[in-house]
């Protein structure tokens, strides 16, 4: 008998809401790197655990950083 998949959804709390951050800076690449995959793609909200507003702010910041070559558009991991 196959076991029914046990899934325990762990509720993630938005990092930015916790720290009460009002502004996501595109120059802070160390922080933004947490929200991109190793291919350079922006992590989805269900992965990053951000709230709607902060996910949007992060995405904008990443896009700004990409324009200024602070973050890659794509990285050639394979």
């Amino acid at each position: 008998m196959a076991k029914p998949p046990v899934r325990k959804p762990k509720k993630k709390v938005c990092l930015f809401c916790q720290d009460k951050v009002t502004r996501v800076d595109y120059k802070d690449t160390g922080l933004l790197r947490k929200f991109i995959s190793d291919r350079g793609k922006i992590r989805a909200r269900r992965v990053s655990g951000n709230c709607t507003q902060h996910q949007r702010d992060v995405a904008t910041a990443i896009k700004n950083a990409r324009e200024m070559a602070l973050l890659p558009y794509t990285s050639t991991a394979r």
Binding site: R23, V24, D25, Y26, K27, D57, T60, A61, N64, R66, E67, M68, A69, L70, L71, P72, Y73
Partner: protein
């Protein structure tokens, strides 16, 4: 008058010592129009995430200023005409 934050990527072949004086030269446009330059932060040489104009490095600088929109527009225009400038970005930090 509005607050602006401008990031400029300069050609890596420039001497880092000459960056500050040449920036001051450009920023005269802002001060002449009644604006103020609040902070100039030269990050120095930094690797680019991808090549721009076949260059893999750039000298990053961030300038905070308070100025009229027209003065900033003119500054951006002049910077983009200059060949030592790889890229610029202007943001209004109040909106972000």
């Amino acid at each position: 008058m509005r607050r602006y934050e401008m990031m400029i990527i300069l050609d890596p072949s420039l001497e880092e010592r000459t960056v500050q004086p040449s920036l001051d030269q450009f920023l005269k446009v802002v001060t002449a129009a009644g604006g103020t330059v609040d902070k100039v932060d030269v990050w120095g040489r930094r690797r680019l995430a991808y090549e721009i104009d076949k260059k893999s490095e750039g000298i990053y600088t961030v300038v905070d200023m308070t100025a009229e929109p027209d003065a900033v527009k003119e500054l951006d225009r002049q910077l983009n005409l200059n060949e030592a400038v790889l890229r610029t970005k202007i943001l209004r930090p109040d909106l972000h």
